[in-house]
């Protein structure tokens, strides 16, 4: 595009948006609303992932218990199986002595007399396992339960399952929501620009007869759409920022109060760049595509 054409295109685009300012404002408001709703989901997703990473580090332990009567060779079998399993990040062997003293000191504390006649031989050897990925827990449990040497496998599986499920559903829901909101925004922007296009249909018609290319006619309207989309995105970003900051500051205190201090919200700075990028791209795309469709009809001369 030639520079003088670009100048014409931008001037006309801004003029269009200004002349049609009531509808422009309405469209901007819709873009803001859509992007804020989307932003909430985006931030929730980001925080879930962030906390999941943290929780994975302190992942609930899986413990494989062998039968107490197993001899060393059989226990070695189990240990070898654990060692070879690539899904397992690390493991620790809990011997009979350790197990017995743990039971004595933690469960029967003060009532040690109940264990007087017993010794460590009643205790099973066990392995405390950390997985690479909590999603594998079910399969790993199954595998070790199937071994003849293994009596039982315990796991804090519910917590992992819950988090895994959420991290699966939240992006999915926000994705679907995003598409719906984008379609609505696009529709509103398209309608807003249709008004401009309609007001200028004579001009478009004349331009067609004079020999203007479709893109020459289209560009000012696309600029108008992009202006609406970008303004909406910018305002939505600022509002999201302010809102999130307020929540994040209060949350650290509130979460400690209810004992959920393992959950931490990210600082907005950490996600500001991504959020602004996504908002900007979304706003631009919605505006451009919306106006592209609104002018199509009038180009057919």
């Amino acid at each position: 595009m030639k520079i003088r054409t670009a100048r014409y295109v931008f001037k006309e685009g801004f003029l269009n948006a200004y002349r049609n300012r009531l509808m422009s404002l309405a469209s901007i408001a819709i873009v803001i609303a859509s992007l804020i709703i989307f932003g909430i989901f985006l931030l929730v997703t980001a925080n879930l992932n962030y906390n999941l990473e943290n929780l994975k580090e302190e992942q609930p332990e899986m413990q494989v218990f062998c039968y107490p009567e197993m001899d060393d060779a059989q226990i070695d079998n189990v240990e070898k199986a654990i060692e070879k399993d690539s899904r397992i990040k690390e493991y620790r062997k809990v011997g009979k002595t350790e197990a017995f003293s743990k039971v004595k000191n933690e469960i029967f504390k003060g009532k040690e007399y109940l264990l007087e006649d017993l010794d460590e031989s009643i205790m099973p050897v066990s392995f405390i396992i950390k997985l690479e990925d909590p999603e594998d827990s079910e399969a790993v449990v199954k595998k070790f339960k199937a071994m003849s040497e293994v009596k039982n496998v315990t796991i804090a599986s519910e917590a992992i399952e819950f988090i895994t499920k959420i991290t699966y559903w939240v992006p999915l829901v926000s994705g679907v929501l995003l598409i719906i909101l984008l379609v609505i925004s696009m529709f509103i922007i398209a309608n807003s620009i249709k008004l401009t296009v309609f007001a200028r249909r004579r001009e478009i018609n004349i331009m067609k007869y004079i020999g203007a290319t479709d893109w020459f006619i289209r560009w000012p309207f696309i600029v108008e759409g992009v202006i609406i989309g970008l303004l909406g995105a910018a305002i939505a970003f600022v509002l999201t920022w302010l809102g999130y900051d307020a929540i994040e500051q209060k949350s650290s205190v509130a979460l400690v109060k209810v004992g959920l201090n393992i959950i931490k919200l990210m600082k907005f700075d950490e996600i500001a760049a991504v959020t602004s990028l996504i908002f900007g791209i979304t706003g631009t795309a919605v505006g451009a595509v919306g106006s592209f469709f609104s002018i199509r009809k009038y180009l057919k001369v």
Partner: protein, 235 residues
């Protein structure tokens, strides 16, 4: 310049607008296309502008084959044509100068060229002094002259006028016709669709008469009605 080879145009609703039309307009000619409304002369012009495509046959305008040319090429076909309509089609919020300059702007002409060409076109149609007026402040004849200036400012080789005097009183109509003739004398091929008998009769130009979609007469120095027994039919 313009050539119709056995052209038939049927609209989707079944209307047969043109039937086996053959005609040829050479460079530098001045041609009237006459016929009552509904005769098919508007369709003929629409085919030249590629507003419509022929159902059968071939239309060739300034070297472009209308039925096979790509959509992308349409603007370039139209840049080689100037068009004037019955209803002027000026932009009401732009001045006379801006209306004419607009035609050059949309084809991305150099600003220097625009500043040179627009006053020349306005001078030709005699509106130099009204350059800063808005179309609403002009008479019908003046508005049509602005439209003429806009049509010729890009130096098209072919000027198409669709009922250019349809909205004008007889005297103003004559002004426009004299301008069209002058433009023609400067080398531009001119094609005028009209049903104004007095003008056609007085100007003694080539006349192509269309009736019910068919060329019924093609006559040099013709009249509106076929009174000349020695009329030469060219098909």
């Amino acid at each position: 310049m313009v050539e119709f080879r056995n052209v038939t145009k049927r609209y989707p609703n079944g209307t047969l607008a043109l039937k086996g039309v053959n005609l040829r307009v050479n460079k530098g000619e001045f041609v009237f296309i006459i016929g009552s409304s509904g005769s098919g002369k508007s369709t003929l012009l629409k085919l030249i502008l590629k507003e419509e495509d022929p159902t059968e046959g071939e239309v060739i305008v300034n070297g472009y084959r209308i039925s096979t040319m790509k959509r992308k090429q349409i603007p370039y076909l139209r840049r080689s044509l100037g068009v004037v309509f019955q209803d002027f089609r000026l932009l009401p919020n732009k001045t006379v100068y801006e209306n004419v300059a607009f035609a050059m702007q949309v084809v991305e002409a150099m600003p220097r060229e625009i500043r040179r060409q627009v006053p020349m076109a306005l001078a030709l149609v005699g509106l130099s002094r009204k350059a800063n007026a808005l179309p609403g402040q002009l008479s019908g004849g003046e508005q049509q002259r602005v439209a003429l200036a806009r049509a010729i400012v890009n130096n098209p080789s072919l000027l198409i006028a669709d009922e250019p005097t349809g909205n004008l009183d007889p005297e103003t109509s004559w002004e426009i016709m004299r301008l069209l003739e002058e433009i023609n004398q400067r080398g531009t091929t001119v094609l005028v669709a009209t049903h104004e008998k007095s003008i056609v009769d007085a100007m003694k130009k080539r006349v192509i008469a269309i009736n019910k979609g068919e060329v019924v007469r093609d006559q040099q120095k013709g009249l509106y009605k076929n009174e000349d027994k020695n009329s030469q039919i060219r098909v």
